[in-house]
């Protein structure tokens, strides 16, 4: 095996004190721009009586207010943009995955930096110009597919943007015939691909596949072993979120000992999600990200909701960027299902709309032959005359399923339960039952 390569050695191996200087400079200029150009930040800072001038070092970041997903939703569509629309060359959005969407704009420089970031983590995972990369991620409003596309092209690999539309048969046909060496996808789709390969009685040995970059959902080490064995690949974890940039925030190097955060582009903090106080390195808490190069859509102290920890020690691979542990959970009740994130409250709203009473329901997540399934068990309202009226129930079920599909773009199986049968379990997290093996 050849020596592992670092895509941008000047940045990725920067000494800590040089990095701190660079981060401070970029943070200050980002704050100055955000304060001048984004009303939300100006009023949030003014409300807390903080001024960008007071941020003299990275520690002072803790005096600044947080930005939440809800803030971004309220800004729909363009209120958080820091540049005029004519400077924006690309937009991505969470539209179609959640009820109230978030729109993220990229300037030309933002796209260039994004490309750099994904190129770095693809290189860190082991991708080279000799690879044939199959990207099985959505290429629409979702930022995932494009981000990896740019980075892989930048490295010079041959990129096949299969996306998710052609279906598993075509996906594995391409994989075999195009001699794909690297697969980029979500954990659940990787399992579906593995299942499809097994079903087609293809041996992974007939494939050229050697590496998989997996992200977009929380996935465990157990699942990683399973994917590695069934696809006969090495698996690398990548982390990113549409609001912040898309993929490219962090990724594992070949040593797989944490995900290197692109610290010249982002400042990472870990906070206690209850007290909101910053935690010391190594402690587990919610990841908070501040962008320090983005022009179009700067984010200051954005609460990602993802639970992880930070290790600032340099890595034996040579990179000095801090590493975040693999995400172990959420600080809120966001459910990640087939790469799509949604909240139980969104399901609740839909059922309420249809049933016209406060619903009792359960969300049951499971995995069948490698693919995640979603079942929503709805308690029949007493307002509906009787369970015998199958016709009414069937109409109701179709209506709920259709509404969920329209709002969240996910297929859910709707089942009904007797009145009062779900009351004991309702409230809080008891509503969500996650049976997916991890």
């Amino acid at each position: 095996m050849s020596q592992p390569v670092i895509y941008n050695p000047r940045m990725e191996t920067l000494e800590r004190d040089d990095l701190v200087q660079l981060q401070t400079e970029r943070l200050q200029s980002t704050l100055n721009r955000a304060y001048r150009n984004v009303k939300f930040y100006r009023s949030a800072f003014d409300a807390r009586r903080v001024n960008p001038e007071q941020v003299r070092d990275l520690r002072a970041l803790r005096d600044l207010p947080f930005t939440t997903r809800e803030d971004l939703r309220r800004s729909y569509p363009y209120d958080m943009f820091a540049v005029p629309l004519r400077d924006i060359v690309r937009m991505h959005s969470t539209l179609g995955t959640t009820g109230r969407p978030i729109v993220v704009g990229y300037t030309r420089n933002d796209l260039r930096n994004w490309t750099e970031c994904t190129a770095r983590l693809l290189t860190a995972a082991g991708l080279t110009e000799h690879d044939v990369v199959q990207i099985a991620l959505d290429y629409g409003l979702f930022a995932g597919g494009f981000g990896f596309q740019h980075g892989a092209e930048q490295i010079g690999a041959s990129v096949i943007p299969t996306s998710l539309t052609p279906g598993l048969d075509k996906q594995i046909m391409v994989m075999r015939d195009f001699k794909t060496t690297v697969l980029v996808t979500t954990p659940s789709y990787a399992l579906s691909v593995a299942a499809a390969i097994e079903e087609a009685r293809l041996s992974p040995a007939q494939m050229q596949l050697r590496l998989a970059l997996i992200g977009g959902e929380q996935w465990s080490d157990g699942l990683r072993r399973q994917i590695e064995e069934r696809l006969r690949v090495a698996c690398s974890d990548v982390y990113g979120l549409t609001e912040v940039m898309g993929p490219g925030v962090a990724g594992e190097c070949h040593l797989r000992c944490g995900l290197h955060i692109n610290e010249d582009q982002f400042i990472a903090e870990i906070i206690d999600p209850r007290t909101l106080e910053p935690l010391e390195p190594g402690a587990s808490g919610e990841l908070v990200l501040t962008t320090i190069t983005k022009e179009g859509f700067p984010l200051i102290r954005y609460r990602t909701g993802d639970i992880t920890s930070l290790d600032p020690a340099p890595c034996p691979c040579g990179r000095t960027f801090a590493r975040m542990a693999r995400v172990t959970g959420r600080s809120d009740d966001l459910i990640l299902f087939r790469g799509v994130g949604f909240f139980p409250s969104q399901i609740e709203e839909i059922i309420f709309d249809v049933e016209q009473t406060s619903p009792h329901y359960q969300i049951i997540l499971n995995r069948e032959s490698g693919a995640d399934t979603l079942e929503i068990k709805v308690e029949v309202s007493e307002r509906i005359p009787s369970l015998d009226e199958l016709k009414t129930l069937e109409a109701l079920r179709q209506q709920i399923a259709r509404r969920i599909k329209a709002a969240l773009d996910i297929d859910a199986r709707i089942t009904f339960a007797e009145p009062r049968s779900l009351r004991q379990t309702t409230g809080g997290r008891g509503r969500v039952i996650d049976l997916r093996p991890s």
Partner: protein, 263 residues
């Protein structure tokens, strides 16, 4: 090489720099662009020791130089080519150049053994003379016109020639960081090209450069990185390519309007 954190400076009640942080790595050329009155010259003057910082730190070669006297900063290897050249008009070219080397002295290695008040003239005249000769030879190869006219009065030079003399004078002390304040100001457009060619040469030879310019086009062509200064604060940092591609920079400093004109 140069590392500035939260620098504040001004004149009287006027705060000009409101917490500036920037750095220049060895061998790098860094441009600071900004409109009139943004604080560009104030920044260079403060680093050069002409103005005292009110807060913040200026570290040159791991040594704090903020608030040190100007001559000490020159001696440390950090030299300013001031705005508007400021050559000594009534002196000859050669005299101007020799003055540029004035601060440079090598003390005898055992100087420290003597009380401070006796040290003043204990420097090594031979090594000083050698240094001056070497630097003169260097600037004469860079600017042949100065060799040809070394006995001419500086005041009779054109703007462009004076600018070259001012750069040459700064080089006489053998600096490692050359700071330049608007080298294109008051110089004919054709001569600007020559001046920038010379600066690029100096960069090629390993000199580190911090450049302040209103003429962003030239500055970004030369520099590796840049900062955009607006009303005493830095609002943008990036590689020259990034700044060149930034639409705000294009509108404000490159004279490009909404439609993109590639040149």
């Amino acid at each position: 090489m140069l590392r500035i954190l939260n620098l504040e400076a001004g004149y009287g009640a006027m705060r000009v720099l409101k917490g500036i942080s920037l750095h220049v790595s060895p061998g790098e050329a860094v441009a600071i662009i900004g409109a009139n009155g943004a604080g560009k010259s104030t920044l260079l003057k403060t680093v050069a020791g002409i103005l005292r910082p009110r807060a913040g730190s200026i570290v040159f070669d791991r040594r704090e130089i903020g608030g040190r006297p100007a001559e000490e900063i020159v001696e440390a290897g950090c030299v300013l080519v001031p705005e508007g050249r400021r050559v000594f008009a009534t002196m000859t070219v050669r005299e101007n150049l020799l003055l540029g080397a004035y601060g440079r002295r090598w003390r005898w290695p055992w100087t420290r053994l003597f009380p401070r008040n006796q040290r003043a003239d204990m420097f090594d005249r031979r090594r000083c003379a050698e240094h001056v000769e070497r630097q003169l030879a260097l600037v004469f190869t860079l600017f042949p016109i100065l060799r040809d006219r070394q006995n001419q009065l500086a005041g009779t030079f054109s703007g462009g020639q004076q600018q070259m003399l001012a750069i040459a004078r700064a080089l006489m002390s053998g600096p490692r960081l050359l700071m330049m304040d608007e080298p294109s100001l008051g110089v004919a457009p054709l001569v600007v090209r020559d001046i920038y060619r010379t600066i690029a040469d100096l960069k090629q030879h390993g000199l580190t450069i911090l450049l302040v310019e209103q003429n962003a086009r030239w500055a970004l062509k030369l520099a590796d990185r840049g900062y955009v200064l607006e009303t005493g604060q830095i609002v943008l940092e990036g590689t020259s390519r990034e700044l060149y591609g930034n639409r705000d920079v294009q509108r404000a400093y490159l004279g490009k309007e909404y439609r993109r004109i590639d040149d």
